[in-house]
C-alpha cells in the first residue's frame, strides 16, 4: 500500500515496481517525478537533454549536489520505450521502469565519466560498463551520474574536483564517501536506488551516514569491467536503497559472471530473496570484540548495544568473536590500496584519454598533465603507493600487508565457525561537519576502521540503519547510525536475511528530518 500523501518519490523500488507492473503509473511519470525532485533539491539547471551541476562556487547552501550530470532526455526516452513495451504485453524484469542514480566511476556510453576528477573532465567513454549493461538489460532507468571523491579516494566526497555533496539529513554535514553522491541521491528521494562502489567502505560508510541500506557484495561476483579502477583487488560495485529488500533486488540484477573481467568469479551466492524473510530465530550473531570501544562515538556505541538487544529479542543467539588481526586491517589497507592505486592511475598520462598539459618532452608532458589533473588526496595516495612499491620497500610494505590480509581472512574463517554472521558499527561516527577532517589525512582514514577488514577478506558486508544518535558537536541533533552485517564468502543471502529481520523490527523511517534536512515535501 502506498501511504496516504506520499508521492512517487517516497516509494521504495519494490512499491514503485508493483505500481508500474499494475500499470497504475507509467515509468515516464516515475522518471519525471524524480527529475522534478532533483531539480528542486540538487541545484543545477534542468533544461535540455542533459544538465550539469553548477560550478562548485555557485552551489547554494541548501543544495544536495548529489549529481554531476543528469541525463534527463535519455532517461525520459528509455522510460517511454519501457512503457510502450509494457503496453504491448512484453515481459519485463521485476524492476523495469524504476529510476536509478549511477556513480560517476562506472562508464555509460555517450555520457561523460569524470570519476570526480579534472583529469577526466570531458571524457566520453566509448562503451558501457558491464554493470550499466545489466541495468539496461533489466530496464532500470539511469537518471544520471553522481558525485564522488576523486577516483573513489576519500570518506566524505569532499575530494571531488566538482564541489561537495551535502548530507540530506543535515546540509552542513558530509554524506560520507567515496560514494557520497549515490547515497545522498537516494536519501534525498531523488532516486529509489543507486549504484556505488566500495573499496574499503565507500558504500557502507555513506549508507550509514545517510540512513540507507548499502551493500558490498562478495568480491568477484559483480563485474569490474567499466569500473574505473582504484584498487583492483578490493573494488566492488553494489547497491544503495532505502530498504533491505530493494538492495537485495538490485544486487541480484548486477551480480553475474563476466568473461571480460579476469577477477570475476563463476560462483553465485544462493538466491538473495528466497529466504529473505526467514528471520533470525536461532541464528548465531557474532559481535566482533575488536570493532567497538575506543574511537567510536558514545551515540554510536549505545545504538549498537541496543541493536544487539533487538537481535536477541528476535531469537538470535549473540556470541562474542575475536578477529585478532583486525587492528592491523587499516594499516594494511593504507599500503595495499595506495599501491594498487599508483599502478592503476599510471594510465592517466595524457596520451590515450583525458586531458593533457603540453610540454616539450613526453616525460615532462606526463608529469605536468598528472600534476594539473589530480587533486591532493589522489597525489598523496599515488606517492604512498609508488614509495611502497619502489625498490627496497616492497617486502616490508606491500608484501607484508598482503600477508596480514591472509591472516585477517583466516580470522574471519575461524569466527564464522562460531557465528553465522558478524556485526559491528559501520562507522565510528555519525555524519561529521563539512571541512572538519580535510586537514588531517589519518583522521579521515579512521572512518574506514570497521569496514576495511571485510574488504580485505573479500566477504560480503552491508550497512543498514540502526537508529539515530546525537553528534558530539551538536547537542540535541539526531543523525543516522549504521549497523554493519558481515557474512562468509558467497553468503550474501545470509547477510540480507539478518538485515531484513532487524529492519522489520526497527521500523526506521529513511526520511531526513531535522532543522537542516533537505527541504520540500516528499
Amino acid at each position: 500500500m502506498v501511504p496516504e500523501g506520499v508521492s512517487l518519490t517516497g516509494l521504495s523500488a519494490a512499491q514503485l515496481a508493483a505500481k508500474l507492473a499494475a500499470e497504475e503509473v507509467s515509468s515516464r511519470e516515475a522518471v519525471d517525478a524524480h527529475l522534478d525532485r532533483i531539480a528542486a533539491t540538487d541545484g543545477g539547471t534542468p533544461d535540455g537533454d542533459v544538465w550539469a551541476a553548477p560550478p562548485a562556487d555557485e552551489l547554494g547552501p541548501d543544495h544536495v549536489h548529489a549529481f554531476l550530470r543528469v541525463t534527463a532526455q535519455a532517461a525520459r526516452d528509455h522510460a517511454d520505450d519501457i512503457d510502450r513495451r509494457r503496453v504491448a504485453g512484453e515481459e519485463l524484469g521485476p524492476l523495469a521502469g524504476v529510476p536509478l542514480a549511477l556513480k560517476d566511476v562506472l562508464t555509460m556510453r555517450g555520457a561523460p565519466t569524470t570519476c570526480g576528477s579534472k583529469m577526466l573532465d570531458g571524457w566520453i567513454p566509448p562503451y558501457d560498463a558491464t554493470v550499466t549493461e545489466l541495468l539496461r538489460e533489466a530496464d532500470i532507468v539511469v537518471l544520471g551520474k553522481t558525485n564522488m571523491d576523486e577516483f573513489a579516494m576519500g570518506s566524505s566526497t569532499e575530494n571531488s574536483a566538482f564541489g561537495d555533496t551535502r548530507n540530506p539529513w543535515d546540509l552542513d554535514r558530509v554524506p560520507g564517501g567515496s560514494s557520497g553522491g549515490s547515497a545522498a541521491a537516494v536519501a534525498a528521494l531523488q532516486a529509489p536506488l543507486s549504484i556505488g562502489t566500495d573499496t574499503g567502505g565507500s558504500i557502507r560508510q555513506p549508507a550509514a551516514l545517510t540512513g540507507l541500506v548499502g551493500a558490498k557484495p562478495t568480491y568477484g561476483t559483480v563485474s569490474r569491467r567499466g569500473l574505473v579502477a582504484f584498487a583492483s583487488s578490493l573494488d566492488q560495485a553494489g547497491p544503495f536503497a532505502r530498504t533491505v529488500e530493494d538492495a537485495a533486488r538490485l544486487q541480484t540484477v548486477i551480480q553475474r559472471h563476466d568473461p571480460r573481467d579476469s577477477t570475476s568469479v563463476t560462483d553465485r551466492p544462493p538466491d538473495l530473496l528466497e529466504h529473505l524473510h526467514d528471520g533470525v530465530d536461532g541464528l548465531r550473531i557474532g559481535v566482533v570484540r575488536e570493532l567497538q570501544g575506543e574511537g567510536y562515538e558514545p551515540g554510536v556505541e549505545q545504538t549498537f548495544q541496543v541493536a544487539l538487544e533487538r537481535f536477541a529479542a528476535l531469537g538470535a543467539e549473540i556470541v562474542e568473536v575475536s578477529l585478532p588481526h583486525a587492528p592491523y586491517g587499516l594499516p594494511a589497507y593504507y599500503l595495499i590500496a595506495p599501491s594498487e592505486c599508483s599502478s592503476n592511475l599510471a594510465r592517466f598520462d595524457g596520451v590515450r584519454y583525458g586531458n593533457r598539459v603540453d610540454a616539450p618532452t613526453a616525460e615532462e608532458m606526463n608529469a605536468a598533465t598528472r600534476a594539473a589533473g589530480f587533486g591532493p588526496e589522489v597525489k598523496r595516495r599515488i606517492m604512498i603507493g609508488t614509495h611502497a612499491l619502489s625498490s627496497g620497500y616492497y617486502d616490508a610494505y606491500y608484501l607484508q600487508a598482503s600477508k596480514v590480509r591472509t591472516l585477517i581472512a583466516q580470522d574471519f574463517r575461524a569466527a564464522f565457525e562460531t557465528a553465522d554472521v558478524l556485526v559491528s558499527p559501520t562507522s565510528p561516527s555519525v555524519a561529521f561537519g563539512l571541512a572538519t577532517k580535510t586537514a588531517d589525512p589519518i583522521a579521515m582514514y579512521l572512518n574506514d576502521v570497521a569496514t576495511v577488514p571485510a574488504s580485505l577478506a573479500g566477504i560480503p558486508a552491508l550497512s543498514l540503519p540502526a537508529g539515530l544518535a546525537e553528534a558530539p558537536d551538536a547537542p540535541g541533533s539526531a543523525l543516522p547510525v549504521g549497523l554493519q552485517v558481515m557474512a562468509p564468502l558467497l553468503r550474501d543471502d545470509l547477510m540480507y536475511r539478518a538485515a531484513w529481520a532487524f529492519e522489520q523490527d526497527l521500523d526506521f523511517a529513511p526520511l531526513p528530518t531535522g532543522p537542516r534536512a533537505v527541504g520540500g515535501a516528499a
Binding site: Y219, T266, P331, R352, A362, A368, T406, P441, I442
Partner: protein, 98 residues
C-alpha cells in the same frame, strides 16, 4: 619512517608527478605520518604466511577462441588529446642528436 624533501622529489619523479615546492613541503610530513601509521603491519609475525591478492583461490577461466569485433578505432581515438595518422601522438621521447 620519515621522508625528506629530496626523497619526496625522487618518488614524485618515479610517479611522473610535477610537484611544486609548496606541495613537496606539505607532502613530506604527511607521507611520513601515513607511512608511520601503516608500518604497524611490521609488528605482525608473518614470515611463513602466503600473501593474498584475491579472496578466492585462483580459477582458470577459459572461453572458446572465437574472433569478435573490438571497439571501432575511431571511437577510441576520439578520446585522445592528440591524434596523428590514426595513432596517439606524443611529444618527443628521444632527445635530438647533438
Amino acid at each position: 619512517m620519515s621522508l625528506s624533501a629530496d626523497e619526496v622529489r625522487h618518488v614524485a619523479r618515479l610517479a611522473r608527478l610535477a610537484l611544486s615546492d609548496d606541495e613537496v613541503t606539505d607532502l613530506a610530513p604527511q607521507l611520513s605520518g601515513i607511512l608511520g601509521y601503516a608500518e604497524q603491519v611490521g609488528e605482525v609475525a608473518a614470515e611463513d604466511v602466503t600473501p593474498t591478492v584475491h579472496p578466492f583461490a585462483p580459477q582458470d577461466v577459459t572461453r572458446p577462441d572465437d574472433p569478435r569485433p573490438s571497439l571501432p578505432r575511431e571511437d577510441i581515438l576520439a578520446s585522445a588529446p592528440e591524434v596523428e595518422q590514426d595513432r596517439f601522438a606524443v611529444p618527443r621521447i628521444v632527445a635530438e642528436e647533438g
